[in-house]
Amino acid sequence: MGFLDNSGDIILDAVLTDLGRKRLAEGNGRFRVSKFALGDDEIDYGLYNKNASGGSAYYDINILQTPVLEAFTNNMSSMKSRLMSYSENDLLYLPVIVPATSLGESAFYTGLRSYIVLVDEETVNALTTNNNSLDAGLLNGYRPDMGTNLLRTDQGLNTAELSKDSPINPSLLETQYFVQIDNRLGFLRPSSGGDAENPAAFNPTTIDDDSIATYIFTANDGTRVVTNIAAGAESDINGPRGTRVALKLASSLDMRTSTFLFTQLGSQGTANITSGTKTLLAANYKFIDSTVRVSGVSTGYTLDIPVRFVKKTS
C-alpha cells in the first residue's frame, strides 16, 4: 500500500475489508456495523521525546510527521493495536500479556523461542514412547489430553517498580480474551480433560475468510481457560498479576493425515528435535510456522505466540 497524501487537510481513506465484503455478499444480516475502535498501528511511541528542549509542543513532533499507509483490505492486517479508554487519567502503568515460559510446563522449546506441536501419532512416537512424556515446549497435537505441556500466557503489570504482591487495579484486570489460530492447522483444546474417544473441544466464535478462527474465553465461563493469578504466585509478570490463559493445541485432521499443507506452506526441518533420549532428525520432518494470537478484549493488548507444527515425513 502507498502512503496517504498528508500535504493538506486530513482525509480519510475507508475500505471494506475482505471479511466485510464476504459478510455483505452473504446477505444474511451479518454485515452490521455496531461499534468502532481507533487504532495506531504506524505509531512508534519511542519517538515521543519528553525531554525535548523546545518544550511540550515538540514532544511529539516526530510522531505527528509519521506517514500513514493506505488502508489494508485484509481484516487480519489492520487494527492490530487499538486505542484504549480508561476512566482514570492518572494511570502510569498499563498491563501487558507475556508468554509464561518460566513455568516448566509452558516453557518454549529450548533454543527455538517457540512451541512445537507434534501433529500426528508417528511424530509423537518418534519423540516419546508413551504419548505423554515430552520435553518442555513440545505439545502433543495428536492427543492433547495426554501429557502436561501447554501454552500459557500471563497478564499484568510487568514492572519491578511495583510489588508483585500488590493486587492489580481492577480496571487493569483482563477477564476476557480473543484467541485466534489458523483453523487449517489446528484447534484450541482445554488444558485438562477429554480422552481419545471424547476429546474436550471448544467451538470458535467466528472463522473468517482467511480461515482464522477466533475463540472467546472469559473468566469463570466454565472452560477454566482464564484464571486469576494469585498475588505473589509464580509468574513471568514481575509486578501485580492479573489473569492467566492456559490452552492446549490439537492438530487438524488435514495436518494429521496429509502432507499437502506441509508441502504447500511448510519447510524441511533444519535442526534435530530432541525429547529425553529420542531425536527426530531434521531430514525426517517438515514444519509450518504460525502464530496463536492472544488479545485482551478490554485492555486491548495483543500477543502473537510463535507455534511450529511438525510432521514426521520419513
Binding site: 466485510g20 455496531s34 481507533l38 511511541y45 476512566s87
Partner: protein, 350 residues
Amino acid sequence: MATSFKTFDPNKDSVVTRNLLHEAIPMTGTIVSGTYADLNIKNYSHGMFQSVYDYPFLSSSANHIFDLTCGYPATSSLSGASSTQNAKKINIYNQMAQVLAGFDAEGAVRRFDKDGDLTSGDKINEAYFINLTRLLSKDEVKKGSFTLSLGVNATYGSPFTETINITDASGSDGYKVNSPAGEYGILFANNGTGTPMATADPQPVGLLYYQAGIAVLTASVFGGILSSSAEMNASAETVDAVLSGSAISGNCDDLRHRFLNLSFNNSTELNSTVYFCRTNNTDFNYSSNPTYLSASKMVVKNNSQDVPVSYVTAVGLYSPDNELLAVAKLSEPLKKDPTTEFTIRVRLDY
C-alpha cells in the same frame, strides 16, 4: 473498566446518503478512425455490429469503449430484397426500437420519434446507433454533457473541413421519460466548422438514452440537414446509398471516417452510509501499542499526573461479533488526550 470499542447509537451515529459521482470522458476521433490502423476495431462474422476499443483489441490492455451499428425498419424506403443485409438491418432497428422506444397499444414496435412525441411527428427511419459500454457510461450519461462532432464536408477525402456539433444541450432541463429504457434527451445539431447545415437553427438529429448509454442518430446528419450531402465512401455514394448497398460493417467504417470527437460525463450513483465516530474527552487516551509501554510504564508520561496521550491513525468498524468489517485510515496522525474531543466521519460507499 477499560474498553477499546465504542458502540454506535443507531439513532444518531449513522446516516444513509446518496451521492452522484461524475467522470469526464473525452474521446478523440483519431482513436476511432486511424491511430491504430483499425487494429482496435473488431468485426464479427455475424456482421450485426462493430466494436471499438481504445487499443488493439488483441491486447489485454484494450478497453471496449463503444459499439456501432445501423438499421432501418421494414417500412423504410431503403428496405428491399436488393439491399445488402436487409434483414439484419431491419432486425437491428427493431431490436433497438423495442428496447428503447417500446411497443404501442397494439403491441407493435414503435419507431424512434424525432422529437419524443410518440403520438405524432416525424420518425427516425434510417439510424446509426452508438452503444456506449457500461465501462464508460456507468450508471448513466450525465444529462446535458453529451457532445459529438462529425465531419460533414461533402468531399470524402477531407471530411473535417466542415463539421457539425451534436449535443443534448436541452437534456439538463428538458428530457423525456416515455421510454421503457429510462430517460432520454433530444440530440440537436449545430454548425461547427463552417456552415454546412442547410439552416442555421439547431436541428433535431437523434435521441440519447441516458441510462442505456445509447445514442440514436438519424442518417440525415449526412444528408437531409446539410446544404450538400456528404460522400460516405471513396465511391462518393450518399448516405442512403451506403445504408442500402453496403454491409453494416461498411456503414460503421463510413461513420467512423467522419467521427471527429465525442465527449460526455458519466454518473455513478453512490449509496453511502456515514458513521459518526464520536470520541469524548475520556475516550481513547491510552494505547495498546507495544511501543506505548516500556516495562509496563507508559513512555508518554513521566509521572502519573501527566495527561495520557495517544495518536489515531485508523478507525475500525466492527460487527457485534467483533469482526473487522471496514477500515478507514487518516492521512496523518491525530493527537488524542483528555483535553480534546472530535468526531471522525467515516463514509462507506456501495
